[in-house]
């Protein structure tokens, strides 16, 4: 039929269909005339026109929801015999074969379950293997394992297995009405069964709720232990169905590696146990869409992720962590054994710290105190510290998928400068900084420091990737357009977990009100990511401080210079901050910036006496104007600790600074260092970890961590840590300097020389690489080279400040008696490196000296441990 004919058919069909049936014939007579074919076509269609018919709906319906196969009413096998067993009924039908209820002919009291396979075992070899495996499995005797009793082959050559008959309810059904505690206990019984088998090198391979029955006495019994392997043809990949069709029906509890057909290990069972536990606790199956059989994997949809999180949200956070650890995609990240898994559950039940929890020492402390309200004794602290150090800090802080789900975290990417004028770049950067600063004040929100986000300036990276690297749930990005006295900020929030934008907004305001404006933007962002603002936060956000536009502008330029941190830049920053203060004399933030600048220059370029006294004055002035400036408290702490050696006062300032702004990575870093210097290594570790969390990409934090390792004499960790710093940025001078220094502690002088030379190559004028290099040469016996460096250092000290601590290091390397003299000179200068004196192993040869002991007292490190 021609296309035009079809149009005609359509026209007539509709016309006729609208008529009463009785009128149709007459209509078609008229319309079709002698065209019988047309008429037949229209009539046949009218005949199958059934309005309100649900046929097609039904077709779809049936496909989606196939009714379960009706269990056969009668069992054709009933009465038949398999070996010495008489079949008494059908229990169920499975993929491999059917399971029958049977009794042993000579012992009617003992009911058994017989699994009769549909397929033959094949060759003689296969049968022999089957027998061997069967015997191993029959050796499993555990109260929570349904025993394999017997097995063989029928006359027709079909293998069968005889198992203990368990009368009970499926796990999920049984547990549905139980409180969580009892579910966990039930689950731990299953774990004990699996662990028992694992000790005998037997992996279950197919742990799922359907394989766990709970008897009327409440005893769970695990069925089909090792059967999956038994039924696997020799040389088979791993007991999983991998046919294309079966790919659509992935087992709900199989591990990712199992689905990929890889080797099945203990970790596989741990995963499956985790999946069962998840189901047991949430009533839902873990969605494993991320794991596909095909090589081209497909990501979990955000819907699933949300759903999984939603289900998990009802869980105790520790329980959540335990489950997620067991369900880790990477087998090596899961529990090492079922016993560990079960042990963590026990600890949870008894309110002890669980292993799956990120090993935050604060957390451990809290848990410890909750359980046992006795003073924490030093021995415990030392034990915990060695645990933390031994495990490697970086790993402790490493992201475990899902763990941070509840933690609101955000990274503000450098805002784009839309003005088209590169000279306005500083303004966009300043705005980014200010926004970060405002957000950082909000409690309960983890804000990534600028140092870590600046790497993404102008980078066209995918947001989920960035979120992953920075380990945040939310990313803010946007642009700034400044036009005269007006500024416009457009911001977009991106939910990295849901992989979608969640909010966007734009704000326009006058530069005069810029602070209030920033607070407003920050408050809006906070609202969007549902962080509750405390009353203080809100008060801050609603306060309406106004600054002079020029002062603000100058201040921003100063911040930008300070952020660069070459000597020239910092001198420029000082100028700019002072200029801002010339315009606006009561500008607390400008004073704070000044304090930070001087602290940065102290020891590096200016003599501490000069720099630190200026820093102190600036910080004090800032606090006088506004006691709420967190950064000024932090600066004050640094001055009091590293310059005045008043560690207790420093401690108070750091606490206050962190209270005001919990998100300043540098404050945590310095606070951590002060704790390590004063012998509170455990808390120091925690502070360092927080700094690392807040600034995951910062080379400074990474390096600080490395220093902390060698100061606490964890040399392999120190070297590992610092190596990773140099590996990720070969041009970062401090990385090479401190890696070189770390090698000195392990007496790997040749390696030390290599790193220190590299640092010198990057900046020949830096004093630290020079001093450590001199030490290395001296230890290697290259006296001349050491002397030459010492001379250079001395020459350099005419034009700028060089720490006496560094000279002392060179002298110790040369076994020169001048070392203590130099340290005393350093003390006279109030040199900040002296904070290391108590812990630095390079000075171990001097520790017995009374003058050295006196120095330790002078720098306030003898008594600081009680802090």
């Amino acid at each position: 039929m021609e296309a035009s004919g079809w149009d005609r058919v359509e026209e007539l069909f509709h016309h006729a269909a609208d008529l009463a049936p009785a009128e149709r014939a007459a209509f078609l007579d008229r319309a079709c005339g002698r065209d019988a074919k047309l008429r037949r076509e229209v009539e046949s269609l009218l005949a199958t026109d059934i309005p309100h018919d649900r046929l097609f709906q039904e077709v779809i319906n049936r496909t989606i929801h196939r009714p379960p196969e009706e269990p056969e009413e009668t069992c054709s096998m009933t009465g038949q015999r398999i070996g010495p067993y008489a079949i008494t009924g059908l229990i169920g039908k499975g993929g491999m074969g059917d399971v029958y209820h049977a009794v042993r002919e000579d012992d009617f009291r003992m009911p058994v379950a017989i699994k009769l396979l549909r397929r033959g075992a094949g060759t003689e070899t296969a049968l022999r293997r089957f027998r061997t495996e069967r015997q191993i499995l029959a050796g499993l005797r555990h109260p929570n394992i349904a025993r394999l009793l017997d097995g063989g082959a029928t006359d027709a050559g079909l293998p069968y297995l005889v198992m203990e008959y368990v009368e009970g309810a499926p796990l999920l059904e049984y547990a549905a009405a139980l409180p969580v505690r009892e579910r966990l206990e039930l689950f731990r019984a299953v774990c004990s069964a699996v662990h028992y088998a694992h000790q005998r090198q037997i992996v279950h391979r197919d742990i799922k709720p359907a394989n766990i029955l709970v008897t009327a006495d409440g005893i769970p019994k695990l069925l089909d232990f090792g059967i999956a392997k038994l039924l696997d043809p020799p040389g088979g990949a791993g007991g999983t169905a991998t046919a294309t069709g079966a790919q659509l029906m992935t087992p709900d509890y199989a591990s990712p590696e199992q689905l990929r057909g890889e080797a099945v290990t203990v970790a596989t069972d741990i995963y499956s146990l985790g999946a069962v536990l998840y189901d047991l606790l949430t009533g839902q199956k873990v969605n494993r869409v991320t794991q596909t059989c095909s090589s081209g994997g497909v990501e979990e949809t955000d819907g699933e992720r949300r759903q999984r999180r939603r289900a998990a949200e009802h869980l105790d956070p520790d329980l959540d962590r335990i489950v997620l650890k067991a369900l880790h995609r990477a087998p090596e990240q899961r529990y090492a054994s079922v016993e560990e898994f079960s042990e963590d559950l026990r600890r949870l039940l008894e309110d002890l710290p669980v292993q799956a929890r990120r090993q935050s020492l604060l957390y451990l402390g809290r848990k410890f105190l909750r359980r046992n309200r006795l003073p924490v004794v030093a021995a415990t602290a030392i034990a915990l510290l060695s645990l933390a150090l031994g495990m490697g800090l970086r790993r402790l802080g490493a992201p475990v998928p899902g763990l941070d789900a509840n933690l609101r975290s955000i990274a503000v990417l450098p805002l784009e400068n839309l003005s088209g004028d590169p000279g306005q770049e500083y303004f966009a950067d300043g705005m980014t900084d200010a926004l970060i600063g405002e957000l950082a004040r909000i409690r309960g929100l983890r804000v990534i420091s600028r140092a870590s986000t600046v790497a993404y300036k102008g980078a066209r990276r995918r947001l989920p990737e960035i979120a992953h690297s920075l380990r945040v749930g939310t990313i803010a990005e946007g642009s700034v357009l400044r036009s005269g006295d007006r500024v416009r900020v457009a911001l977009r929030l991106f939910d990295a977990v849901g992989d979608r934008p969640v909010w966007s907004g734009s704000y326009e305001g006058e530069l005069r009100d810029v602070l209030a404006f920033q607070s407003r933007v920050a408050a809006a962002v906070a609202r969007e990511i549902r962080v509750t603002l405390t009353a203080t936060d809100r008060a801050r956000a609603s306060s309406d401080p106004r600054v002079n536009l020029d002062a603000y502008d100058t201040y921003l330029r100063g911040r930008q210079a300070l952020f660069r941190s070459t000597v020239e830049d910092i001198q420029r920053a000082i100028q700019l901050f002072q200029q801002a203060l010339g315009i606006e004399p009561n500008y607390a933030l400008a004073y704070s910036g000044l304090a930070q600048s001087y602290i940065t220059l102290s020891g590096m370029y200016l003599r501490p006496r000069e720099a630190m006294s200026k820093a102190k004055a600036a910080a004090a002035r800032a606090l006088e104007i506004d006691p709420g400036v967190a950064e000024a408290h932090f600066s004050m702490g640094v001055v009091q600790g590293w310059y005045e050696f008043q560690w207790e006062q420093a401690d108070r300032e750091f606490k206050r600074a962190i209270e005001l702004n919990p998100n300043d990575a540098m404050a945590h870093l310095w606070y951590g260092q002060s704790m390590i210097s004063t012998g509170r290594a455990m808390e120091g570790v925690e502070q360092m970890r927080i700094a690392h969390d807040l600034d995951p990409l910062s080379a400074f934090v990474e390096t600080g961590l490395g220093q902390m390792y060698f100061l606490s004499r964890q040399y392999p960790l120190a070297i590992q840590q610092l190596r990773s710093v140099t590996a990720s940025d070969d041009t970062f001078i401090e990385g090479h300097t401190w890696l070189g220094a770390a090698y000195l502690y392990t007496k790997q002088y040749a390696e030390a020389v290599g790193e220190l030379e590299r640092a010198r190559q990057l900046d020949p004028q830096q004093s630290q690489p020079m001093a450590y290099l001199a030490y290395a040469h001296a230890r290697l016996g290259a006296r001349q080279a050491a002397d030459r460096l010492l001379r250079q250092l001395k020459e350099l000290s005419h034009s700028r400040y060089i720490s006496g601590y560094l000279f002392a290091i060179v002298c110790v390397g040369m076994n020169s008696d001048d070392a203590i003299d130099w340290l005393e000179k350093a003390y006279a200068e109030r040199d900040d490196m002296l904070s290391w004196l108590k812990v630095d192993a390079l000075f171990d040869p001097l520790r017995g000296e009374p003058r050295f002991q006196q120095l330790i007292r002078q720098v306030g490190l003898d008594s600081a441990a009680h802090l």
Partner: protein
């Protein structure tokens, strides 16, 4: 490290003619669909009939949510893709099931093998799929409308919006298209 392509990515690639993208998508969407079906069942009432439309709508919501960040050429393009995907999924699923029933011999059911349809037997999705393909040869738009209606679970109004048609046109297309399909499925050519 390369990450597996996202559903969104795959949808786009497929819409741009990359057929292997569909191969990767299908099991995913199938799982989604299946999981939804299972969940609905688990919510209680195991004997209650599922509402496939609701189910498909839920799946849609997920897909659409996932793809909000992308500018789709048009709404219809998206709905077309989703409904087509659903059709594929159901067909594959149905094939896999028949294959399993026949002991693993996976053979696509062709129209020659299909029994002549009597109205006392509900056709399966494979037959519907085939009939729909025949209809598309005759009238592409009607096939699209029906695909969106049944595989996409969309209302007439939504279809009208997606395909830029009027609602009465959609109604008429459905009526004639369905009549044609019924006739075809009944063996009436």
């Amino acid at each position: 490290m390369t990450r597996p392509p996202s559903v969104t990515r795959l949808l786009i690639e497929w819409s741009q003619g990359n057929h292997s993208a569909l191969d990767q998508l299908t099991p995913h969407v199938y799982r989604e669909l299946h999981a939804l079906a299972r969940r609905s069942l688990l919510r209680g009432r195991p004997n209650q009939t599922l509402q496939p439309t609701a189910l498909i709508n839920e799946l849609y919501l997920r897909l659409i949510e996932q793809t909000q960040t992308i500018e789709w050429e048009s709404r219809s393009h998206f709905f077309g893709i989703a409904a087509r995907l659903m059709r594929n999924v159901l067909v594959d699923y149905s094939r896999a099931q028949s294959a399993a029933k026949r002991g693993g011999a996976a053979v696509a059911v062709t129209i020659e093998q299909a029994e002549p349809l009597a109205f006392d037997r509900t056709p399966d999705v494979l037959e519907l799929d085939e009939a729909l393909s025949r209809l598309a040869e005759r009238d592409q738009r009607k096939a699209n409308v029906i695909e969106l209606r049944y595989f996409g679970g969309m209302s007439r109004e939504e279809i009208a919006g997606a395909l830029d048609l009027t609602v009465p046109t959609v109604k008429r297309d459905l009526r004639l298209g369905e009549a044609w399909l019924r006739r075809h499925l009944a063996g009436g050519g």
